[in-house]
């Protein structure tokens, strides 16, 4: 996965901040999701116990991942599914393309799958002469627009209904309307024809149950049920971390993922598919293929802090509460997975040096950790990754090609902190520095703050301060430090006075 765009993160972020329309749309949408989520969760007395239990289930599974994966594969095969293993994105794409080509599949319907975005499946299929059609409304909208999803559970969250209306009118040649029910109906009728004609259906997997070899896929629209029951062949793409031990574990998982992902008590449809149909005359596909892929997941098992990354349910709850995501939206992250979870998954999947800016795209407020249904401690993970980057772990060796976090910058930061430590640990040096700063700052203080300087004063400000004041004000050094005030007070009340 090397989807990161060519501009550095701060450039993209700045551009996103300048896009008032997108910020407005995103803000409105996120406020709405959050309100629903809070309402649903507030009505669940056992929410915290559910989170705790889910985290236990995930921890247990990940610590014996090889056992559970093998059990899942065995049971699924016994029920007639064909299991494929792929070490990376390229292998996964090639397996799926081969299956499609062997069955001479021309038209493929796809349901929403972050995994398929991660491995860039659509591009691979198109290159292989197979046309993949997205069927989830949000995904179809962005496919028509030639864009990528900006949110894990609401892919077209950044689009207003006016924009969708324009898009449909332009791409489908229909009369322009921005009535949402009408737009939905247009999508339904157009996509229905595709379902009827499809040779092959491709889906993701939310959970794989080891006990029975079952895959569970959840949705609200119904396109997954159509994708997995109408075409003759069904291919399910499943990250190896999706496996859970028992069917009964779904009770906990389903009760967490619906409120977290969509602010609902329960998503509309769950399809539990075990192998293939027993008799030829039964409903459903003739073949079910499950492609298990790694693509960088197994290396996250090597440390308890990073291992929790694999507990992620891809619900998107962390995005909705993240102050950074809310302002800049998903595309600014430049990676398939945006927001808090994206900031920790992407560097681990593609290498710290290629995504070193992401763990820093956070204020460490911790809102994400509070809402995560499986209690992933994202701030802990961010700090862990930041430490790895700062210490120059093997992953982050060498300068980043795009110059985002070059060694010289790290050198400058290290120098600055060393200087700071020197000054702070020597009283005389500290007091002297304060006096010097007070003298030098005179020209830079306006209205009681050190602000971004105008042209005339710009030359007086050191580069570090320029960077700081570009977005923040700096409090100036006081006319009298506390120590100086204290000394003066003591002098005044000398003779008999006691200090408290």
């Amino acid at each position: 996965m090397n989807r990161l765009q060519s501009e550095p993160f701060h450039t993209r972020a700045r551009a996103a901040l300048g896009n008032e329309q997108q910020r407005g749309a995103l803000r409105k949408a996120i406020a709405s999701i959050k309100e629903r989520q809070l309402k649903v969760v507030a009505r669940m007395d056992d929410w915290e116990q559910l989170r705790e239990r889910a985290r236990s289930i995930k921890d247990e599974t990940l610590r014996r991942l090889d056992y559970y994966l093998e059990e899942f594969a065995t049971k699924a095969e016994r029920a007639g599914a064909k299991i494929h293993w792929a070490r990376d994105a390229i292998e996964a794409c090639s397996i799926i393309c081969r299956i499609a080509q062997e069955r001479d599949a021309r038209s493929v319907v796809k349901s929403k799958s972050m995994a398929s975005e991660e491995i860039k499946l659509n591009a691979a299929l198109t290159a292989a002469g197979v046309e993949p059609v997205e069927t989830d409304l949000g995904e179809w909208i962005i496919q028509l627009a030639g864009e990528t999803p900006s949110h894990i559970s609401v892919p077209a969250i950044h689009k207003t209904k006016a924009q969708v209306a324009d898009l449909f009118a332009a791409k489908l040649g229909i009369e322009r309307t921005d009535d949402i029910a009408a737009l939905t109906n247009t999508a339904r009728n157009t996509l229905r024809r595709r379902f009827a004609a499809a040779d092959l259906g491709i889906s993701g997997v939310n959970f794989g149950i080891a006990e029975t070899g079952t895959i569970l896929i959840l949705e609200n629209e119904g396109n997954i049920r159509l994708t997995t029951s109408l075409p003759k062949t069904h291919i399910a793409l499943m990250g190896i971390e999706k496996v859970i031990p028992q069917l009964d574990d779904l009770d906990v998982m389903l009760k967490l993922i619906a409120p977290s992902g969509a602010g609902q008590r329960m998503t509309t449809y769950q399809s539990l598919i075990t192998g293939t149909k027993k008799r030829r005359c039964d409903e459903g596909p003739e073949e079910v293929h499950i492609v298990l892929f790694d693509n960088g997941r197994t290396q996250m098992l090597a440390h308890p802090v990073t291992r929790q990354t694999l507990a992620c349910l891809r619900c998107g709850a962390c995005l909705n509460v993240c102050p950074v995501y809310q302002q800049i939206g998903g595309h600014a992250y430049g990676s398939v997975y945006p927001g808090p979870i994206g900031a920790v998954i992407t560097p681990q999947l593609i290498g710290l040096s290629k995504a070193s800016h992401l763990p820093f795209a956070s204020s460490l407020c911790g809102a994400c950790a509070e809402v995560c249904p499986v209690k992933i401690d994202i701030p802990e993970l961010l700090l862990h990754l930041r430490a790895e980057i700062a210490e120059g772990s093997p992953n982050s060796a060498g300068a980043d090609a795009r110059g985002e976090k070059t060694p010289s910058r790290w050198g400058k930061e290290r120098l600055a902190f060393r200087l700071w430590a020197r000054v702070m640990s020597n009283r005389l040096l500290y007091e002297w520095s304060v006096r010097v700063a007070r003298a030098l700052q005179r020209k830079l203080v306006r209205d009681g703050q050190i602000r971004k300087p105008d042209r005339t004063a710009a030359g007086m400000m050191p580069p570090l301060m320029m960077a700081w004041t570009a977005q923040r004000d700096l409090r100036p050094v006081a006319r009298q430090t506390f120590r100086e005030q204290w000394r003066d007070e003591l002098k005044k009340s000398k003779g008999g006075a006691r200090h408290k």
Partner: protein, 256 residues
């Protein structure tokens, strides 16, 4: 060729898992020994995991289960009516058919439906499932099925593919009418999963579908729209009489 490389990939992935888990052991040992666990779960075998949550609000009384089931369904935009007798349900079916102005209706092969349908008077063409191909289903305005289980705490219908042929009939037509016996409504998701899992190795149907309300989307400006790909209307008819002899004299369900 492909099996060979898949075998290679399988070995490589499993080996990578084992290798990385092994590398994690010293870090895990340090954390597990730490007195301050915070919210970290200690590693335990499956057996010692705490039992699943049960919603204290759901009782084991049949009438209150039905009431809860109905309340939940209505809150997600489905309609739910309870009938004492099959012929009452038949009247409701007639009403729904007329309301939808339906010309073609698909009916699944559920035994529960056979008697009810026989009471229904309508000029509409009823297609039984054997005769219906997927293509024809696209022309039907209503699909009528039964459900094997209902879950009170979530307002969910559970459809098992081995018990009835209803996978597409419950999905393709824009209106779905589901008939369910009151005794089939269990209290919790956990109970339903246990029923579906069954006792034997092969009891689990190849396709089990959970349905909680009509199809919906909020992908455009987070505004709710019903009937995206699945049915835009779901009507559930609960039958609480025993004229189809679902219960034995001891009050146990005779057949799963």
């Amino acid at each position: 060729m492909s099996t060979q490389s898949s075998g290679e990939a399988r070995r490589a992935i499993l080996a990578s898992i084992r290798r990385n888990l092994k590398a994690s052991q010293p870090h895990d040992a340090r954390r597990d020994g730490n007195a301050f666990q915070l919210s970290r779960a200690t590693p335990q075998g499956l057996q010692s995991l705490p039992s699943g949550s049960t919603d204290p609000g759901v009782t084991t009384d049949s009438a209150s289960r039905v009431a809860e089931f109905r309340r939940r369904l209505e809150s997600v935009g489905a309609s739910c009516s309870v009938f004492q007798h099959e012929h009452e349900a038949a009247s409701e079916l007639e009403r729904l058919i007329q309301e939808a102005g339906a010309r073609r209706i698909a009916v699944s092969d559920a035994p529960l439906l056979k008697t009810i349908i026989s009471h229904v008077n309508t000029g509409t063409k009823l297609l039984s499932e054997e005769a219906v191909l997927a293509g024809e289903l696209f022309e039907c305005e209503i699909g009528i099925t039964s459900a094997q289980w209902g879950i009170a705490e979530t307002g969910t219908l559970v459809l098992e593919s081995e018990r009835e042929r209803h996978r597409l009939t419950s999905l393709i037509p824009p209106v779905h009418i589901a008939v369910i016996a009151a005794q089939r409504i269990v209290g919790t998701m956990s109970e339903a999963l246990a029923r579906v899992r069954g006792q034997g190795r092969d009891d689990l149907s190849r396709a089990v579908t959970f349905i909680t309300g009509p199809s919906r989307t909020a992908d455009i400006e987070l505004t709710l729209a019903l009937g995206m790909h699945g049915p835009r209307a779901l009507h559930v008819l609960v039958i609480s009489d025993d004229s189809n002899n679902m219960l034995s004299s001891a009050g146990e369900i005779k057949e799963w």
